[in-house]
């Protein structure tokens, strides 16, 4: 083993590098994306026991699970959106594996989101972040911290008669992050990478539109973003290798120095 990896493992063992879990527990109750009912619906997580040390299997316990690719804490591949449908290596099985390890900038929007569930991250907010923490490097994740993951499920989905009210990025902010900063992807604590009302934006669902159109990735339903520094945490986010998969639930870990 090289010295670099040995040093990193020693740092993890010694506590110099902390491993932070950014993942919600997959459970049947966890809110899923709601679309108008005449459209196809993504299936929630379900678990059926196959055996549990009983006559169905005397010495072993296991389950059959079923779910949508976009369930719980999950990863969006470019093929998920129509803007990314013709790109090379656009599905979870073909994305170069090096992309599954990358550092992150974390933009703290928790105060704004607490004040306004429809808070929209603007280019001005990004400029403010860069003033305080430096330019966002190319090839990094940008994670939008809203503390949304701390809400109960009703507050988390925050559905009203006119749809979900949850924070997300503006079209201009997304275009800027993708075109001007060359980010690897964008991650949120909410059910989607886009705001709850983003179908009214131009273009609709700008995070999906710009990220996937440029071959970038999405992470959503993240938690514990409040435990990450504004820059420098290393994100380990490797989706399941599903043939032609548009995304996948996954375990997202952050390595944090200090």
């Amino acid at each position: 083993m090289s010295g670099t990896l040995t040093a990193m493992l020693a740092a993890i063992a010694g506590g110099g590098v902390k491993v932070v879990d950014l993942t919600f527990t997959l459970s049947p109750e966890f809110p899923a994306l709601v679309l108008p009912p005449e459209l196809g619906q993504c299936a929630p997580f379900r678990m059926e026991e196959v055996s549990r040390y009983d006559p169905r299997g005397p010495a072993w316990y296991w389950n059959n699970i079923s779910m949508s690719e976009h369930c719980g804490t999950h990863y969006d591949a470019p093929i998920h959106w129509v803007t990314g449908k013709d790109l090379p290596n656009n599905s979870v099985d073909t994305i170069p594996v090096e992309r599954f390890l990358a550092p992150a900038c974390v933009i703290d929007c928790s105060a704004q989101a607490a004040a306004d569930p429809d808070f929209v991250l603007s280019t001005g907010d990004i400029a403010a972040f860069e003033r305080d923490h430096g330019r966002i490097p190319a090839g990094w994740w940008v994670l939008m911290r809203t503390d949304w993951s701390k809400r109960d499920f009703t507050g988390y989905a925050n559905l009203r008669e006119d749809g979900a009210h949850t924070p997300g990025p503006s079209p201009e902010a997304m275009r800027f992050l993708v075109d001007e900063r060359g980010i690897l992807g964008f991650g949120t604590e909410t059910i989607g990478t886009d705001a709850g009302q983003a179908h009214h934006f131009a273009p609709p669902y700008p995070a999906h539109h710009f990220l996937h159109g440029a071959g970038r990735y999405g992470l959503q339903c993240l938690c514990n973003l409040d435990l990450l520094p504004p820059r420098g945490a290393v994100i380990v986010a490797a989706p399941l290798k599903i043939r032609q998969g548009s995304g996948s639930p996954l375990r997202v870990l952050a390595l944090v120095e200090g």
Partner: protein, 413 residues
């Protein structure tokens, strides 16, 4: 006169729960002509299809002309109570545990005499109405009630054995998110149910009527997602031993036949919310209900499944959903057989298209949620097993009886 039934006392936890036993359940095949009538709450007598004579008890051949062509004919259920007696001790365990038990001879206006169970309010020599009622073995039995009805008639102990009255019982309505579930909760609460548990799936999704539902007398909102095995089992663990009646109102209606749909995603949802949901509920709640079939005045007694009439014959316009309903109906027939030894009756309620949003483009007549809820309460009070609510379902029933092939063709047009 019957005294009003008081709310049952809480159980003495030191006493063993009495196991359900069945009244005599052997019947001839011809006797099931009466079972069929009792299941639907109709009255009639076996009749010779050649000479037209009515007879009782059911026989394989007409006692007048020896023809073996026997059918049923509707006739007046009224008669006179010619004689009564009260059985103090029976050598049958079921009646022994419920004695004294009143029986008598009713001379029907239509002619035949019938030995019947007799309601406590019937006067010797008085006018009575005879009903075919399903007993706890699920078979038809003759039961005489006073004509006109007496006050508190439903509370007579013999009557309560023949019915599934929600009064003082605890009910679980499985899906309170829908207009049907909410109407059902209201109707059961109004019918005197002691408690109405109402299942709500995905409580994080708002739904119309939620505040009104929570405010109803005796209603307790419970988390229940019938598409999730753990959720069903968790609720069964929590309240299973306190549920006397289940009213399963779950529905996942989607239009579309087999060809115009792409893939099986929606068909899976329909099976999950219908057939598999029933299996989960059956495994979660069935065993304890069957065990509690003789557990005092609020024993477990009924399981109501609300179906579309298209469970009985495919409707190609809603073909995949129709198939899911058929699967659920078939499973429910098995459930009926498995719960019968506990004296718990599985009631099937069939409706035509309802006022549900998923039937919005269809022309009337459509069935309102309140109409179905009233029909369910009526079925419980009368102890029915097969109920057809509204014109479409009743017409369908008649056409299915007459010529299933014609119905198949007509539904496909």
């Amino acid at each position: 006169m019957t005294a009003p039934l008081p709310p049952p006392k809480r159980k003495n936890p030191l006493k063993r729960t009495r196991l359900p036993v069945s009244p005599p359940d052997l019947r001839s095949r011809q006797s099931h002509l009466l079972t069929r009538a009792a299941a639907e709450g109709r009255f009639g007598l076996p009749t010779c299809l050649d000479c037209g004579a009515l007879h009782y008890p059911p026989r394989d051949a007409c006692p007048h002309c020896l023809s073996s062509r026997i059918g049923m004919r509707e006739c007046s259920a009224l008669g006179t109570l010619a004689a009564t007696t009260t059985v103090q001790i029976s050598n049958n365990v079921y009646f022994r545990e419920r004695s004294p038990w009143r029986v008598g001879l009713v001379t029907l206006d239509a002619g035949p005499g019938v030995v019947a169970h007799v309601h406590g309010d019937c006067a010797d020599g008085g006018r009575v109405r005879l009903d075919w009622r399903l007993d706890r073995s699920g078979n038809a039995t003759a039961f005489a009630v006073p004509d006109p009805p007496s006050p508190n008639m439903m509370d007579d102990p013999q009557m309560r054995e023949m019915t599934l009255d929600p009064k003082h019982r605890r009910v679980l309505v499985t899906d309170g998110r829908t207009a049907l579930g909410q109407a059902m909760a209201k109707a059961l609460s109004d019918a005197g149910a002691a408690l109405v548990f109402v299942g709500i799936a995905e409580a994080w999704k708002p739904f119309p009527g939620s505040e009104r539902l929570s405010a109803m007398r005796g209603v307790e909102i419970m988390p229940l997602d019938m598409t999730d095995t753990d959720s069903v089992n968790d609720l069964a663990d929590a309240i299973g031993a306190r549920v006397d009646i289940i009213v399963n109102t779950g529905a996942h209606i989607r239009p579309g036949g087999l060809l115009e749909r792409k893939g099986v995603t929606v068909a899976r949802e329909e099976l999950e919310a219908g057939y598999l949901a029933l299996l989960r509920l059956a495994q979660g709640f069935g065993p304890v209900m069957r065990f509690r079939g003789a557990d005092g005045a609020n024993s477990a007694c009924a399981w109501v499944n609300v179906f579309s009439i298209y469970a009985q014959m495919a409707w190609p316009a809603y073909g995949a959903w129709s198939a899911a309903q058929a699967a659920m109906l078939n499973a429910s027939l098995s459930l009926r057989g498995e719960l019968r030894p506990g004296g718990v009756r599985v009631v099937h309620v069939f409706t035509g298209p309802t006022e549900d949003e998923w039937f919005q483009p269809l022309p009337p007549p459509k069935v309102a949620a309140g109409q179905i809820a009233s029909a369910v309460v009526d079925a419980l009070r009368r102890g029915l097993e097969d109920v057809y609510v509204g014109d479409v379902a009743q017409d369908f029933r008649a056409r299915l009886d007459l010529n299933p092939k014609a119905l198949e063709r007509e539904l496909g047009q």
